[in-house]
Symmetry: D2
Subunit: 357 residues, 4 copies
């Protein structure tokens, strides 16, 4: 159950870091959608390891294969299964971890929950699982193009370094640099900071901001499946995420209602709001304004330093810093955040089709 | 679909602010649980309006009736239906709002989504719906007592006023004051601030922090249904919530991995962590440490001031400040946050029973 | 979980035979549907006990109250909660059954599954639960009227007595007699048989046939949620049902493919089949022909005779024939079968809205 | 959604007859189960085409590959993905069907529902999809071995030829002959009949009976998810199935309650029933007696004869008999029925773990 997400546009992912492959089954993609395979690959390339000096040097081509659900280039309404084979598996790199619980990883909790675990590269808890999400999210994005919905995420913070509010940025520049921050000055600083952290054999956290433009009015369901509640769950389900806020978020609690309320006005027959502290969502339902939210990522737990821990028997041990990992996860998290946002939005577009007679 | 929550311990709520009643059906409560009705009522009393000078003066007794699922004082395994009749309904108070979209309320989005709406008191979008959650949450708390799990929420911030970290507070003192902040000094300041905001006919936001102690190791499911992802969704589904963070949260992004990682040690045969930036959750699964998280609430949208808006036809109108509402929602949100946390925890305890052979 | 049914048009029922009330929450009824309360009551009246000499003499008025989800006579898109209070509760009639397992009832299995049970009138296992389904089904029927879908069930068999195939009957005559068989001759025989069985303090089984006309082409989902698979589950979930078959059913296995296949032809631009062994469903999806199916009901387990059984401690006991029950369940089962068929059809109409771009 | 089945032990299948492969993802198999790959293959071999003269001569090896969820031979609790590549694809055989709707196939309904279809071999509507179910069912059977549950299906009817009641048969002999009927005399007659039908270029229907022994008491949920309701849905979801009955089934309607009721008695401390018209299920819940049910299969729609039909434009056309298909589906349906029964039973065993405190 825990490996599926979505109500009508629904995905099920599978696969471990060092197993045969990872993959996803997409059930509920409407028939007739042209599946642009080059676009899917380009999205996977944005997430793949080894793409720049500030990401892990592990190499995975992340070439995908569609096994089902497509005929003559279009979705048939049948489930679309996609598989990405694992290539650069150095399972032996992990043999020293078989009995050891790495700090702030899922080793201990998986062992406790399941009685044993696939220790190679984190197994199912590896962020490699997110490649399956990006492939499925690419298909959701193709679906959203029919509705002119645009989803753009970017790195808005690394450590203490913060980019300006998204409304002051040109989001078309996100892919111009390796850290995926559209601010040309701040991006340089962020890259320098990550590089310095990497050299000190450490890691650092960051924030990804995501903006959804042109979402139809009426997405989201009242009560439990509010649009922002599902966006929150989707983002918090990404590895290393520690927080989610939308619109005015945590800062908004400091405001008065008279400052925070978004007054309506009529712009040439269209109902708009003067401000957008609501983040495009009121009562859990999209109101046509930009939907925007922040996603906090902790510093990557794998560091190139010795750490104290315990093994399965409870003996105290030293975990050596080994392996190939990202000094900061946010540059590669950008397409993952977009993918999850696309999946949530596509799902709610389908759900919105049955709201009224 | 959107009115149900939970996988195995599952609730479905119904009812509008000014209809006949609100209620909840709890499906999946194991048989044999003694249902302490006095406890359920005491939880509802913590949420009910009119309990102090800093809450709304609206009066609702929130007396509940159990319609089913209980025999000789114990749950039978059948669905437990609970109804709370609406009493203090001044529907006429809302007649001026029939055609008007109040700023930052759900009026416009409901109208767009459903074609028309029950405008009386917000209808289904009213926070009154949360009384049903509190009733269900009380039953979840009774279930959790069997596992010695304790859930304590409190007000940790009002406007700019912040209480110390929960580890420096005595959470048994939360109910000692009307703002539900266990810090005796800060609580006075918060009350004064809310009272001042109320007198200025305005509202203000705040943060509720929640701590879950003694949760078993192994709660939460990998990938999409991570423990913190479900907690996040549950919290974000509460009216007026704008953000969720757990453990180190948004502040944690500033740290290095070497600072942030929680090293394991062996405490008399029990595996513990030296720090708890993880917030008791690693890889989406509880590790036995305290689970703690923050929930941001925006300032209440109803203010006693004139605001500009539009009506259904798009005419610009002035919305007058009328009705009886909370100047700050967080004191009454404390039991709601606890209720949702209890429901999520109870659900994952049931789900954890099928993880391994 | 087991008390909910449907994917998008979804119901959750609650309540026991001798508790406060029974009821249902309908989640997913599109907004804007006019809820004709007189129609809902008329459907409940078709199911209620005490309506003729061949049904139980127990009296229940089955008056219902809508608690939520309706505003100015129309559905709002919010969940519709309906409650029916229990009136004629003679709980004492059942005190002799507290420790006894009645043959072919749910007493033993409930006790084993839940550790104890509400023994009064079967508690949750009572067929009284079906009143909630009929109320919800009435709303589904109102929804189906928008699509001109007609659902007609009737009694096609009692004991060995069988009515002709539905295509040879005038289904508008079903309500003309108390056994709900539209054949005027056969209905008399059936009534006489049931009356004779009743006088012998026994019970007898029967078959209800249901015909769905004008269902749109394209209802049902391939693979697991085939239209007939959901119809089958829905029917088998009704108390006392032992079998389900659609189209040619069990008799069809005797035919050759060359006899059984339904050849297509073009009738004035509309694609039709010459025969309808498919029962209006091909590959799990409606093809526009009549959908028809049979539902087998066992003889009611409560008989007015002594039977051997055991009690909780395993002692052999004699169960005396007591209480007020139907000698044959099928006349009152007709509206229940229709209700479940309506709920399934309404659900698939909603689901069909997202099949293609 | 329609491609998933089960609540806690849950499968999602994918793949088309003439695509790259078919497969299944099993989510919810508890960790620690030893996955006997030889057993999985042996189950697939029982279903595969070309195994005898009375099955289709199409050749598929149905070799499977496990992509995930298994480590050191045991399930890890992560989803188990299994892929079976399609080998003997003669897609060209189907080019003449691109625009034609074959009688009693899913061609017309798929085209109507999805706007276009993969016409090669039925695409997603092909019975080839059931290979994925058999693979998943084999894993469910391995799980059920831990509970000593035994599932045995067999062919009980072909055309008019009926085997005796299962209680009079030695079910260990089912695999002794190619028709999978354990009665040595009747099996010969059935084989002769199928062979004769095949030579006449026609097809014929049949019935598969399934018996589940040693199921724990307490499986199944009251109300909608009754054990027999889920078994019914699972069976009706198999291609070509037209009916389902359990215990006394359709014949039971002819009995009186005094004949049909299963009286309890105490057999050495164990509560048993003297007869078993209930089919091991009372009130939707297993009572420890044998669970048995019948599944009706229509004659295969593909016949080697000319038939009248229409094409996409509504033109009347003749469909020629071509391709390689089974003259009677029931011999190969036996392992499919068992697989679905195993999946339902495994799911309810997991669900039963949360019934009471």
């Amino acid at each position: 159950m825990s490996n599926s997400y979505g109500t009508l546009f629904r995905i099920t992912t599978f696969g471990e870091s060092h197993g045969h492959s990872i993959g996803v089954v997409i059930d509920g993609c409407p028939a007739g959608l042209e599946l642009d395979e080059a676009f899917i690959q380009s999205e996977l390339n944005r997430r793949k390891p080894g793409q720049s000096k500030i990401t892990t040097q592990r190499k995975e081509e992340d070439a995908f294969k569609i096994l089902s659900g497509v005929f003559e280039g279009k979705s048939t309404g049948a489930p679309i299964a996609i598989v990405i084979e694992n290539s650069d598996q150095r399972s032996k790199d992990y043999s020293h971890l078989e009995n050891t619980f790495r700090p702030s990883h899922a080793d201990y909790t998986y062992e406790a929950k399941y009685g044993f675990r696939d220790h190679r590269g984190g197994g199912r808890s590896s962020a490699r699982e997110t490649a399956a999400r990006v492939a499925a999210g690419a298909i959701a994005k193709l679906f959203l193009k029919k509705y002119a919905v645009e989803i753009n995420a970017f790195v808005s913070q690394v450590g203490e370094l913060k980019a300006p509010h998204y409304t002051q940025l040109d989001l078309s520049k996100t892919e111009n640099n390796m850290v995926r921050c559209p601010d040309p000055v701040m991006s340089e600083k962020m890259i320098a900071l990550i590089d310095q952290v990497r050299l000190s054999r450490d890691t650092i956290g960051g924030v990804v901001t995501c903006v959804v433009k042109n979402a139809p009015v009426g997405l989201g369901e009242p009560v439990f499946d509010k649009l922002h509640a599902e966006l929150g769950k989707a983002m918090l389900s990404i590895n290393a995420v520690k927080g989610f806020e939308y619109g005015s978020g945590f800062e908004g609690v400091k405001l008065h209602g008279s400052q925070h309320n978004d007054e309506f006005y009529n712009e040439g027959g269209k109902i708009k709001t003067k401000t957008n502290h609501s983040g495009g969502i009121q009562g859990g339902i999209s109101n046509g304004e930009d939907i925007y939210f922040n996603v906090a990522f902790k510093p990557v737990a794998t560091i190139m330093q010795d750490q104290q821990s315990v093994d399965k028997e409870g003996n105290e041990v030293t975990v050596a810093g080994k392996g190939r990992h990202d000094p900061c996860v946010v540059p590669r998290a950008v397409p993952i955040v977009e993918a999850m946002a696309a999946l949530v939005t596509a799902d709610f577009i389908l759900r919105s089709k049955v709201s009224k007679l």
